[in-house]
């Protein structure tokens, strides 16, 4: 033991301020990468989910789309990433593609649910006013589906924050890189600090989206 015995790094405690102090640049870099990967993946997921859901509804393929989404969702992330690597290589693109696929499964469900939830008489009224398909979609259906879509966006974001950690497989897992390193070398402070940051990140993202939701749907609040 000796002179270092009082050092929380050496004692390997779960909570260790010295860890945070000496590794602050690692933690910042990991957090930044985590935020980047999550944001890019969820935004691409949303950008794909919206048109996909709209098209699927027009072609009456919603059930097929949801079934496919379920299948993708159940593919374990370790297996999915290993299967993707031959196509996409070892860049962070692999992680983003995997995360987009997973976020799609959640987003699609909610976009479809939101659009389905628009009452038939509202649609009729809009058509009666001479709204075409596109105008109906943009000015009636999407705004009415917005609360459900935003809700899905929040779940997708939080889930993606968690899933990003698996990117450690190709060295692009943000905080997951630290968690994996800590698990492998029995470094408790590293595992706990990175895990807590991960959850905190999810809390902040969830609250931010809540604010966005309130701003975008001021009418929803006055109803409840």
């Amino acid at each position: 033991m000796g002179p270092l015995a009082s050092d929380c790094l050496v004692r390997n405690t779960w909570v260790c301020p010295k860890y945070v102090r000496t590794r602050s640049s690692d933690l910042t870099a990991a957090l930044t990468q985590h935020v980047e990967l999550t944001t890019v993946s969820v935004l691409i997921g949303l950008a794909v989910a919206l048109p996909l859901a709209v098209v699927a509804r027009r072609l009456r393929l919603s059930s097929l789309l949801l079934g496919t989404a379920t299948v993708v969702y159940t593919v374990p992330s370790l297996a999915l990433f290993s299967l993707l690597v031959p196509f996409t290589g070892l860049s962070s693109t692999t992680v983003v593609i995997g995360l987009v696929l997973y976020s799609l499964t959640i987003l699609l469900r909610n976009v479809l649910a939101g659009l389905d939830g628009v009452a038939a008489d509202v649609r009729e009224a809009a058509r009666g006013m001479g709204f075409g398909r596109t105008r109906l979609l943009l000015r009636v259906e999407l705004p009415l589906a917005l609360p459900t879509i935003m809700a899905g966006l929040r779940v997708a974001t939080v889930s993606t924050v968690a899933l990003t950690t698996i990117g450690f497989l190709v060295g692009s897992g943000g905080l997951g890189n630290l968690i994996q390193d800590g698990l492998q070398s029995n470094f408790k402070a590293e595992v706990l600090t990175a895990s807590v940051l991960c959850v905190l990140l999810a809390v902040v993202a969830d609250l931010l989206l809540l604010v966005v939701q309130r701003v975008l749907t001021p009418w929803a609040r006055s109803q409840s």
Partner: protein
């Protein structure tokens, strides 16, 4: 109003996506400028690392040495051999520190299927020769192996080591539960080796991996009596575990060796640079460095630098 808001949301989204796509390259590479002092001037080398302590240390040493030789470098962490070996072939990764026998058997299984006859032995040079025979057709090449070796080993609790003996041959006739990788029953050094070389019968295999937290937990809970770990694992002592000595030399020559990939197999500057390290690195050096990282929690890059300086290589 709503339509306008909707449109601006869509526009903002599109902008962000485009932006993301534009900077979608690898932002996590630690690019460094080269100082252009040696034969490697101008070339960029991507060093692969499997991401655990010992390999992180090796990768950090490769980085320091190669930069001194005039290369610019970056380290790419890839957790599994299944993922980084193909990247070596494609040139996405240029050099990776690996274990000679394990890599040889990996390529062997890849070429000849899961039941392939083993090509490695406990002889370092033979093993590296076998490795190179398999590596060459793939465009890979192993450089000189170091003296330093981190072999597969079987750990037990200190209590069980006291009871059954400190050498594996003392365990002759024992029936044990073994915590190891799922493929252990197929690997000559693993379950069959315990039976044939040491007369130890594995009654049950717990598929918990190689040196994972789960393997160690199974041992401390006495759910397993032997567990598969690495000989330089610096976390064992703090958990009340010891390695039972492989006194009959069952284990293969898992010496640390740089495996070079596409585009660098005939790069003599790189070979000379990394071979210098192979010439000095001993198992004890490696174990000491592992201990500094996993016990004292120093940073791998700092430990690597201090070691290379102490050997006059920097």
């Amino acid at each position: 109003m709503r339509a306008k808001r909707m449109l601006s949301l869509v526009a903002a989204l599109a902008a962000v996506v485009l932006l993301a796509a534009a900077c979608g390259g690898d932002s996590n590479k630690l690019k460094t400028d080269n100082n252009g002092s040696g034969g490697g001037a101008g070339k960029h080398v991507v060093i692969g690392s499997a991401g655990f302590t010992e390999i992180n240390l090796m990768a950090a040493m490769y980085q320091l040495l190669l930069e001194k030789a005039g290369y610019s470098t970056s380290i790419k962490v890839v957790a599994n051999r299944e993922l980084y070996e193909p990247a070596l072939e494609k040139g996405q990764i240029n050099v990776v520190p690996d274990y000679a026998a394990t890599m040889a058997e990996f390529l062997n299984v890849k070429k000849n299927g899961p039941n392939a006859k083993p090509v490695s032995s406990n002889d370092k040079d033979q093993t590296v020769a076998a490795l190179n025979k398999l590596a060459e057709p793939l465009g890979l090449k192993a450089l000189d192996p170091a003296q330093a070796v981190d072999q597969n080993a079987f750990a037990a609790t200190t209590a069980n080591a006291k009871k059954n003996g400190a050498n594996l041959s003392d365990w002759n006739g024992q029936k044990v539960v073994l915590a190891a990788t799922p493929e252990c029953p197929d690997r000559p050094f693993c379950q069959p080796g315990l039976k044939n070389t040491y007369g130890i019968t594995v009654t049950k295999l717990l598929p918990l991996g190689f040196g994972t937290a789960q393997v160690k937990k199974a041992l401390t809970d006495n759910k397993a009596q032997l567990g598969l770990v690495g000989t330089t694992d610096a976390t064992l002592a703090s958990m009340g575990l010891v390695i039972i000595k492989d006194d009959k030399g069952l284990q293969e020559a898992d010496n640390l060796v740089p495996v070079v990939g596409k585009g660098f197999t005939s790069d003599t500057t790189m070979a000379d640079t990394l071979n210098k390290l192979a010439g000095v690195l001993t198992t004890d050096d490696l174990a000491q460095m592992d201990k500094k990282v996993d016990g004292e929690r120093q940073k791998p890059a700092d430990v690597a630098k201090a070691y290379l300086q102490s050997k006059g290589l920097l």
